[in-house]
Every structure is written in C-alpha cells, then in structure tokens.
Symmetry: C2
Subunit: 225 residues, 2 copies
Amino acid sequence: MSTLSAVEENYLKYIFQLSEIFENGIVKTNDLAYKLDHSAASVTDMLKKLSEKKLVAYKKYYGVSLTRNGLTIAVQVLRKHRLWETFLVKNLKFTWDKIHEIAEQLEHIQSDELIDRMDQYLGFPKFDPHGDPIPDKAGNISLPNVVCLADAKLKKQYQLANVNDDSAAFLKYLNKIQLKLNDKVKILDKEEFDETIQLLINDKKQLTISNDAAHNMWVRSVKEI
Amino acid sequence: MSTLSAVEENYLKYIFQLSEIFENGIVKTNDLAYKLDHSAASVTDMLKKLSEKKLVAYKKYYGVSLTRNGLTIAVQVLRKHRLWETFLVKNLKFTWDKIHEIAEQLEHIQSDELIDRMDQYLGFPKFDPHGDPIPDKAGNISLPNVVCLADAKLKKQYQLANVNDDSAAFLKYLNKIQLKLNDKVKILDKEEFDETIQLLINDKKQLTISNDAAHNMWVRSVKEI
DNA sequence: TATAATTTTTAGATTAGCCTAAACATTTCT
DNA sequence: AGAAATGTTTAGGCTAATCTAAAAATTATA
C-alpha cells in the first residue's frame, strides 16, 4: 500500500473518533462533514475513494466504518498526534490550548523511525496531556476507567483524568479556573434548576461550574485518604 | 501576505541555495528543475506565480533571483530545516544520513512559536549537524571561515567544519571511514595523476580519499598545538 | 553569420481535493 | 399513507501543481 496523503489520514482519524461516539460504530456523512468543516458532497467523494482503497466500508445513504486496514492507520495517526502533543507540553512548555493545531500538522510527518524515537525520548508515555491514551507501536490502547463529571456521584472523591480537547475556549477556561489534570475533584452539590455543580478542588477551592463544562471533563475515582 | 504552501516555500529555499553558488545570484530554470526533480515547464509556471506575489524577480529566458521578501522567507525555511536537523541528531540520536528527508517535511510546519521554542530548547545553536549555519530569528547568519578540502593547503592543520548533505551515499561513506565533524584533518600529500589525497585524521589514522570526496568537505584552519 | 544545438516557454492535459446546485433517498410528521 | 423535511449523492466546475509535446528564444558551432 502506497503512503496516504495527509487529507486521507485525517479522514480515517476522524472516522475513528466519531465511530467511538456511536454504539454501532457507523459514521454519517454529515457528521464527518461537520467535523472536517467540508461540504457533505466532498465527504461523499472521499469516502468513495477510501472505499476503493479498502480502508473503509461505505454504503450509500447508510454510513461508513473503518476496515481493519483503515483502523490500523487511524490508530497510528492518533498515536503520532498524541506523542507530539506530549512533546509540545512536556518539553517545549506549550500550554494545552495551543498544541492541537500544531499537532494536527505534525501527525502527518512520514517516518516510522521518527515517531518511535520520539516515543522513546518521551519515555513511552501512556497518556497525553489531555489524559487521552497514546496507542503503542503495535496499536494497543490503554483504557482508563473514567466517567463523565456530569454523571459522577455526589460527595465521592475523583481525580481529573481527561478533558475534551475540541475547543480552545474550553481549555482556556480550565487555565482560568486553574484546574489541571490529576487535580482532586468532589461534587458537593448539583442544582436541580439549572444543573450547575458545586465543585471542590484539591480539598480547598470551591467553585460553581456549568453542566456544559462538566460534560467536557472526565474523572477517575480515587480512594479517600 | 497569506501563508505560502510547502511547494512555494521549497522553491524559495532552493532558489536561495542555488543563488549562493553562482556569483551573479541568478538561477536558471533548468538548474532549479534539476534540483527539484520537476520538468522545466513546471518550474516556469511556478516562477511566474512567485513573481506575481513579488517573492522573486523573474525575467523570461534570463533567470530568477529572490526579492527582499522572498529572501526573508527562504532564510526562515532554512532556519527551520536546520533547527529540526539539530534536534533529530542531538536529541533523537539520528545519524546524519537519515535526517534530511525528515527535516524536509518538518521545515514546513507552520508555527513561529514552535520554532522559537525549539530554538530555545536546543540552546540557540549556531550551526547544524552538517556544520551549516542556522539563521537566528531575525535572519542573521553566522558565516564561518571555511575552505574546501580539495583547495586546502598541504601539511596544514584543519578541522572538518562542514559537509555537503545532498547525498546520503556520501554521508554513509563518512560514517564508514569514521570521519566526524570537528575531527582534525591534515593533507599529507596530493597525487598529481588522479588527484587522490593522503589524509591524516586526528593525528593518528591515515587514509586515501578521492578528489570527489574532498570536494564535499569543508574545513577551517586550526592553530597547531 | 547562418545553422545546429540547447534552453526555455507556451499550450493543452491530468489529478487531488475542494465547491455549489440540483437530484435523489430516507425519515418524520400529520 | 402521503407530504414535508432532512440527509446524501450526483453533476459539473474550480484551483494548485504537476506533466508532455510543440514552439520560440538563446547560445554555440561550423
């Protein structure tokens, strides 16, 4: 198989990410179009092309899913993206909200040796700065045991494990309220009327966050001390 | 000025490199075509386009040179290329002969902040692993005082300052004969018949190199101890 | 200096990746 | 179930970057 273009790699990556959201794993043309910010017609074109290359299973008017080959490539692109993000934050001291755009470019650099050496240089990290799992060379992904903060239990101790990285605005918000990965969080109360949440951070700082914000945060449970 | 494509950046970079070879600074269509491995017709097309953007001064059937704007961009691309090469060798432990191709891709990643942070991370290096000067953020280039080994004097102590990085085969050859940057070299004798050179390396190892090889090495003179 | 050889440009074609508008298929609503 | 709304595909077009073949300009040669 000849090497894919950055555009093709992007399609596979986004199909993978969207397919994880829907239980059946089938991605609709419009959802992809929205994610990629392209017209639905363009997406249809590309899906036909990827289908010919046997990277996706595409059925007209129904949807698309990855083949085994397509999945392998998508996971490797994700691996590159997350390793680069890790490097940008850990070594170059970038803040969360600026790395996505750069990693979107770096993930398409073609060299297996480069990414393997980078992996080693970083110490084979299992999670990226957002808390997302980094696939290893073989494509294995560690799945942490997390729950959405919006669905988390009251008065139980959690730790911030992961955040949605789609919106730079949200990442800036996290900076502003000084909430970082692995900080301890406990829900003190949920307001029934507007679903706002009273959150206790690291056993000392208390603040109110919206249900919207809570939907962007993922937490893992922590033993109480 | 909107951002340029990787292809446009490449043209500017190669025009810059070729213009340094010819005294008048004028680059011919065919030379560029050879360097880029494109047809001459394609090059003509692109030169017209770059000329419209005022990045080059192009005169039909005569040749092309960079404008001030074009030069600025070419130097920044070179800066990125050489900083990335430095990172690949110093941090990721790549060998010389494998980095060019990867740096060719990395040099087109668009983010000023990325390259400035990388510069700092590397300690603001002045020369890359081949001994080529790395332009600083403002575009200033340190020019080391070097001479081609083929033109160097007999029995005089030099140090390997720079090598041509165009050919992976040559870089492999250097690895094989275990000659590295900054090694001490002294020409013991030149054979008139075939222009081969008897070279003394680090005051102990002696070997014969071809005139061809000598033309790919650049040395700076060193005080004898 | 006229002609041959070389270099460069022009003309016309191709591919990837995008678009809009119109047609078609599916789903939802009454 | 038929009509309306929504989602998807098809048809046709555009731009960037490449190509080959033919024409034109320049340079070298006899």
